[in-house]
Amino acid sequence: MSHVHDHDHDHTPPADQDGPLSYYQAMEGAVRALLIEKGIVTADEVRAAIEAMDARSPALGAKVVARAWSDRAYKARLLANGTAACEELGIDMGPTRLVVVENQEKLHNVIVCTLCSCYPRMLLGLPPDWYKARAYRSRVVREPRAVLREFGTEIPDGWQIRVHDSTADMRYMVLPRRPEGTDGLDEAALADLVTRDCMVGVALPKAP
């Protein structure tokens, strides 16, 4: 039987996960199927949870940072109870217990999860691949200055570096220092200066 080539696609499919399932992939599929079969969750609820998580982005965290830069009392509340202060801005934090660590003059903070890839997803969305990679996780606790230098972030010798390893129930976000020369900016303009990497602590925000 002949195959008529009048359709509009090429014949090299994109690379996909065509290999056999790993142990944990197979287990996840089996548990999910059982939960749906037993009526504990629906497939649509699983889909909606993934959609909601994928919709989160570092813009949420940037909004929190910009407010803290603009409002001294808010900053105090954020440092005292990160979760409550984010909820104040209408951010759904779910079960996340957030600790905000403040960069200060001569004190720089950086976040890692050496055991897996714990990350403040409710505030920053999904973690970047490098955050989950063994190289970052094993090296940043051991030689933080060298790792930050590879990100283009030079921390002077006179500054202290504090590495925060998210090993258990807390999640962390860095509150960067407000750059010089940003006095006239409103909160929306300030938020534009705050990137994901600044809130993980591998970069510093730059004035526009």
Partner: protein, 98 residues
């Protein structure tokens, strides 16, 4: 009731039990200082096996000097790592030790 307070020197137990452990190897046996009490949480070593993890246990943030963790650390003194550790992994150290 938490056994330790912020500022207390503590030593992490140097043990290697099997199972799901949230205390990283690189701090086992090391001495640090309680930075804060995070609150009471279910024990992950029990939760991992489908049990309830009760009673809730105090969780601390412990600060370690880099030179304590890595004797060949080449950065300035004052660089530190903070790690969350459950109370049952900690013993008093230094002047508070019995």
């Amino acid at each position: 009731m938490a056994r330790f307070s912020p500022g207390d020197p503590v030593q992490v137990q140097d043990i290697r039990p099997p199972g799901h452990i949230r205390t990283p190897l690189y701090v086992r046996g090391k001495t640090g200082t309680i930075e804060r009490i995070c609150g009471l949480f279910a024990n992950p070593e029990e939760l991992a096996f489908g049990r309830d993890g009760l009673p809730l246990r105090p969780l601390y943030r412990v600060q370690f000097e880099q030179a304590e963790l890595w004797p060949d650390y080449d950065g300035p003194a004052g660089d530190a790592v903070e790690v969350e550790i459950f109370e049952h992994w900690l013993e008093p150290a230094g002047r508070n030790a019995p």
